[in-house]
């Protein structure tokens, strides 16, 4: 008897949750790779009609806004966006979000190194282009690896359990020997 309300609850979740979600859209990128600071052509489809969506360029370490784009009555858009120069070379995902933050569509893109003359053509001086290049070095990166209280607790608990368990097993082994 107690199981019935639980089962009904989870069945309701299965059917109700999709009703409240946005319809999944799709985007296509004209190029799979774009140089730093270059232009990206994006076409969207099956998106909320006569509305506006947010474009975001998301990488492993940084997220960059690409602006807001209006959609047509058919739920499409066709736009060109200039990638921010701060988006360093690497693998990214272009994400389309609704006004309430729900993700509607995504597509992978790779940002590649820009050649110095391309940087100049985009309005950046050669000096700044050279300054943006990374020189090979054997040095280690300085990273902020601050731990939360919960992480410290988990680490100390694991270490304590292993140490305590080890000592207990060795003590009991000595006792039975």
């Amino acid at each position: 008897m107690r199981r019935t309300p639980t089962i009904v609850f989870f069945l309701a979740l299965i059917f109700v949750a999709p009703l409240s979600a946005h319809e999944k859209g799709a985007i296509r990128l004209a190029n799979k790779s774009v140089p730093v600071g270059g232009e990206l052509v994006i076409k969207g489809d099956k998106l909320p009609k006569t509305n506006s969506v947010m474009l975001t360029l998301k990488g492993a370490l940084a997220t960059h806004s690409l602006g807001e784009v209006p959609t047509t009555a058919a739920g499409t858009f066709d736009t060109r966006v200039k990638l921010p120069v701060a988006a360093k070379p690497g693998a990214y995902v272009v994400i389309v979000e609704a006004g309430d933050g729900d993700e509607l569509a995504r597509a992978d893109v790779v940002v590649t190194e820009a050649m110095a003359h391309d940087m100049a053509a985009m309005g950046h001086t050669t000096d700044s282009a050279a300054a943006g290049q990374v020189h090979p070095t054997a040095e280690m990166m300085e990273l902020d690896a601050t731990r939360s209280g919960g992480e410290w607790g988990a680490i100390l608990l694991i270490i304590a359990l292993c140490a305590g368990g080890g000592v207990a097993l060795l003590a009991s082994a000595r006792h039975t020997a």
Partner: protein
């Protein structure tokens, strides 16, 4: 062979006398269902001393590496343009990422040390002798696979040291002609060399590793260890002590991961040599400094070739190892350790640029 006393059924469950009420504990249930009784075969008491547990500690270290590796691999991206960033993400944003990476790093160091000590101890006691030659060969092969895992793991960092390590390997592969073809970027045009090495690190090499471990354990179980004492204590006692030492080792790795966390270099740039290799390979670097690129091929060939040949080189009947064999072993060990120290202290040199 486990013998059953009169109060146990063949399954290990306690039987009852007429009039008794059965008392079956949870431990009895686990014991019978997991055939724990099969682990109570007898072994010599000397096996419970720490030097005889070095191989088991190596296995526990490998288990820690597998567990931490599985967690880390959920966040790692083997795409060459994203690999380094994913490691930085692991170190700065993955929950417990920096610590798990530290445990993985120090676990690899621990496995290298315990496997080396285990090999030295087995060699010195002449435990490779008949009938344990295949046990020895499986153990040496395990060491080769462990080195391959350490190499592929260092390349996956995709920092300057990792990029140069990969360049060295590709240059070395070029010297060996068709044998080195799989280690060249153009071998499979559909994917990158880094992605293939990632596959080797998480799939191919662990499969080889655990296949060899299974063979190694099977032979140890059935041929017994090299000891003059009779087998009088249950193997479960050895397992209990080994697990205790293993847990202490794991806690030490956790402490090292906090106190001495491994760093990462900047994203690697191809076409330059500004770093030295990861410390387990400094002995090869030392030979390269004197012999050039061919040192990278010859040094491992000489060392592992000697180790594989040991059972063939010592076929003497009796208990004593030939003196010359021990002398050669000691010389190679001194050169190995000395090469690492020299490589760490010597100035950085270019070998392929």
């Amino acid at each position: 062979m486990h013998t059953h006393d009169s109060h146990e059924s063949p399954s290990g469950m306690p039987t009852t006398e007429p009039g008794d009420s059965p008392r079956v504990t949870a431990a009895d249930g686990v014991r019978s269902r997991f055939a724990v009784g099969a682990l109570e075969y007898r072994i010599p008491p000397i096996a419970n001393k720490l030097p005889y547990m070095l191989g088991g500690l190596t296995f526990i270290g490998l288990t820690v590496l597998v567990l931490t590796g599985i967690l880390l691999d959920q966040y790692y991206n083997p795409n060459p343009v994203a690999a380094h960033d994913s490691i930085v993400y692991i170190m700065t944003r993955m929950p417990l990422g920096a610590w798990l990476r530290g445990v993985h790093y120090w676990g690899a160091a621990a496995v290298l040390v315990t496997s080396l000590l285990h090999l030295i101890y087995v060699f010195w006691r002449r435990s490779y002798h008949r009938p344990r030659e295949v046990t020895w060969l499986a153990g040496v092969a395990l060491n080769v696979v462990i080195f391959a895992l350490v190499f592929t793991g260092s390349v996956l960092r995709a920092d300057q040291e990792g990029v140069e390590a990969l360049a060295h390997a590709v240059a070395g592969a070029g010297l060996t002609g068709p044998l080195g073809a799989p280690l060249t970027p153009g071998f499979t045009p559909s994917t990158s060399l880094l992605a293939r090495l990632h596959n080797a690190h998480v799939s191919l090499l662990p499969l080889a590793l655990f296949g060899l471990v299974a063979l190694h354990f099977f032979l140890i179980r059935n041929l017994g260890i090299h000891a003059s004492e009779p087998a009088t204590v249950p193997f479960t006692r050895h397992l209990r002590r080994l697990t205790g030492y293993g847990l202490l080792l794991t806690s030490l790795l956790g402490v090292l991961a906090v106190a001495l966390p491994p760093g990462i270099g900047f994203a690697g740039i191809e076409g330059v040599e500004v770093t030295k290799p990861f410390w387990p390979f400094l002995w090869i670097y030392a030979v390269e400094n004197t012999m050039g690129l061919w040192g990278m091929i010859l040094a491992p060939l000489v060392l592992f070739g000697f180790l594989f040949a040991v059972p063939l080189l010592d076929r003497r009947v009796g208990d004593r190892t030939p003196s010359w064999l021990r002398i050669v072993g000691v010389i190679l060990l001194v050169l190995y350790v000395g090469g690492i120290i020299y490589g760490a202290l010597a100035p950085q040199m270019q070998h392929i640029m």
